[in-house]
């Protein structure tokens, strides 16, 4: 039996189903499309799964189980575990975010050892708290629809994760961003930078640079760029937050974090 859980949502052209085994437990996630752009996106997602599986031994497996000229069906393992909730914002998702950062460091750090250009790193493209799962195997990133093997400076995905979580945090607190949230973001940025997983581009102005990157490279997300809440209504004080992060890390423009 199947359940269809999403049908061409957010301007997309794919149908997402959960396939159940005979006992009624979810076994696979199926994603399909009859649209040329959707077929291209799903092939890209498959590429993402494969790249991830090459770097993480317990990564979910994915295969193209059916493909014609006008249709594609991708099946990937259903991943059990706990994911984050958007409406928890930044601080209530903090342990999940830290796990995601450590996992990012492990995976992208391993990639970066052999990489020639950290400014053109692989990109997940939609690293939200609901696409991060914690289970007994570890941390797992799912939903690789916006993957690109050589796209944006290293660290973009985590900067986006922090920015989006902050966006939800500010919404739940009526626009207020606490000092605690700022300290947490500083800690995350410091972690990333210490491990060589944050491009210089994001060090000076993490969130402004992230937003600018979205706009400059919008073609990477196609029509679905409009689903990202941080673009629909950006946080007002984004530059002030960047400045606070920079000041607290004793950074002036162009300096590296030690």
């Amino acid at each position: 039996m199947k359940a269809i859980i999403r049908n061409c949502a957010h301007g997309g052209t794919s149908v997402i189903s959960v396939v159940y085994d005979k006992k009624g437990s979810p076994a696979w996630v199926a994603k399909s499309s009859e649209n040329k752009a959707g077929i291209k996106d799903i092939l890209q997602e498959h590429e993402g799964f494969q790249w991830y599986a090459n770097h993480v031994s317990y990564a979910p497996q994915a295969e193209i189980s059916r493909q014609t000229e006008n249709y594609i069906l991708l099946q990937s393992d259903y991943v059990f575990g706990k994911s984050g909730k958007h409406n928890y914002g930044l601080l209530r998702n903090s342990s999940l975010i830290i796990s995601a950062i450590m996992h990012y460091i492990a995976v992208w750090g391993s990639w970066s050892k052999n990489a020639q250009n950290l400014e053109s790193a692989p990109m997940h493209g939609d690293l939200s708290v609901d696409n991060i799962i914690l289970n007994d195997k570890g941390t797992i990133f799912i939903d690789w629809e916006h993957f690109h093997v050589s796209a944006l400076p290293i660290g973009f995905d985590i900067c986006y994760l922090l920015l989006e979580s902050l966006w939800y945090e500010s919404r739940t607190r009526h626009g207020h961003i606490s000092n605690e949230a700022i300290y947490f973001i500083q800690h995350c940025i410091r972690l990333l930078s210490k491990e060589g997983c944050l491009s210089k581009r994001f060090m000076a102005k993490p969130f402004r640079s992230t937003l600018d990157t979205f706009i400059e490279r919008s073609e990477l997300w196609g029509n679905q760029i409009y689903k990202f809440p941080v673009l629909k209504s950006p946080i007002d004080c984004i530059d002030i937050i960047d400045q606070r992060i920079r000041e607290s890390l004793c950074l002036s423009s162009g300096d590296l974090i030690q």
Binding site: K2, A3, I4, N7, C8, G24, T68, N70
Partner: protein, 345 residues
């Protein structure tokens, strides 16, 4: 068996039943009928434009509100409940403009598309040509008389069963909710629907699959003032049929025949016809543009998740809140708006 031999097999089945192929490549039975959202003159105008423009542009120029109904990929989501493989023979009963025909053809199925309305089939033929699909055979016939014993791997009955008991030509603009006198047939509507499902059952190979979708008789929106989608009358879908019949005769001068069913009653009907391994699904907000489709078993209502609303009118918001309360809090699955069925012959 390759593509050509499978389409030959379908065409041989049509020839055996004295269908003849016309200049548009449509196989004609001689049993003409009409059921369309468009009037005949609107259809003529639409088709006249197809020599100069493609089907989508013709619709955008003449009837832009129908663009999504005809072309949206969202309409085919229900086909994901099936396992259509390239080369499977699929029959689309009551295909109209071909939304599900195109979906099955895209999946590699060899599709026999049947409809009584010739004009709809000419439009579909243009669509198929534009998309370079060589795996679609189009036939014109009253679906109640279109018999193809043991031909198909899949049979699709999408929004058709409730119209089976209707008689005569139907141009919805001048029929839906309008007083158009019709005499009741001698057969009970349920019996007519049973007979049609029997024909569908017989068209399938052993263990072939039927996919059927229809509104739920007890769709919760019907209790909150949404009119019956077939008669445009209040409450007729769920009232006792004798009462609905009296209401219809009084308001529309014709008997109430567009029988809908509850989940249980529909399953019983399908079992009586001879299908087995029946899977029932709840479709939200409806089967035409489903956002969420869940298996009907009790535990699966807990999987109900919020989905995006189509528009933000107070009616849509209220209906959404009621639906979420019914499904998430009360687990009242029997009030789901629409039913999808997958069943084996």
């Amino acid at each position: 068996m390759n593509l050509k031999s499978k389409t030959d097999r379908i065409e041989n089945a049509l020839l055996e039943q004295s269908y003849e192929k016309d200049d548009h490549g449509i196989w004609i039975s001689g049993n003409r009928g009409y059921w369309s959202n468009l009037t005949k003159s609107e259809n003529t105008d639409l088709l006249s434009r197809l020599d100069k423009t493609n089907t989508r542009d013709a619709i955008l120029k003449t009837h832009p509100t129908y663009e999504n109904i005809i072309f949206s990929e969202k309409r085919n989501a229900g086909l994901e409940l099936l396992e259509i493989q390239p080369g499977d023979i699929c029959i689309d009963y009551g295909c109209m403009w071909g939304a599900l025909t195109i979906g099955m053809a895209n999946r590699g199925g060899i599709v026999l598309s049947i409809d009584q309305t010739y004009e709809s089939l000419v439009f579909l033929e243009h669509r198929v040509t534009e998309m370079n699909l060589d795996n679609v055979v189009i036939a014109q016939n009253d679906v109640r008389r279109a018999e193809f014993p043991k031909l198909a791997d899949y049979a699709v009955v999408n929004g058709v069963l409730e119209w089976i008991p209707e008689t005569g030509e139907i141009d919805l603009q001048n029929y839906y909710g309008k007083a158009v006198r019709r005499e009741r047939t001698s057969e009970n509507p349920e019996k007519l629907q049973y007979n049609f499902l029997k024909l569908v059952h017989n068209s399938l190979k052993v263990d072939g699959t039927m996919f059927l979708s229809i509104e739920n008789r007890y769709d919760y929106t019907q209790f909150f003032g949404k009119k019956d989608p077939h008669s445009n009358l209040l409450f007729t879908s769920f009232l006792p049929r004798a009462i609905s019949n009296k209401i219809s005769l009084a308001a529309l001068k014709r008997p109430y025949v567009n029988y809908l069913y509850s989940f249980k009653a529909l399953k019983n009907l399908i079992v009586d016809v001879g299908f087995h391994d029946i899977e029932l699904y709840m479709a939200f907000p409806d089967y035409r543009f489903p956002e969420l489709v869940l298996p009907y078993a009790r535990k699966n209502v807990s999987k109900y998740i919020n989905y995006g609303m189509d528009g933000y009118s107070w009616k849509r918001i209220s209906a959404t809140l009621v639906e979420r309360f019914l499904m998430k809090k009360l687990r009242a699955r029997f009030f789901a708006p629409s039913i999808m069925v997958v069943a084996k012959a």
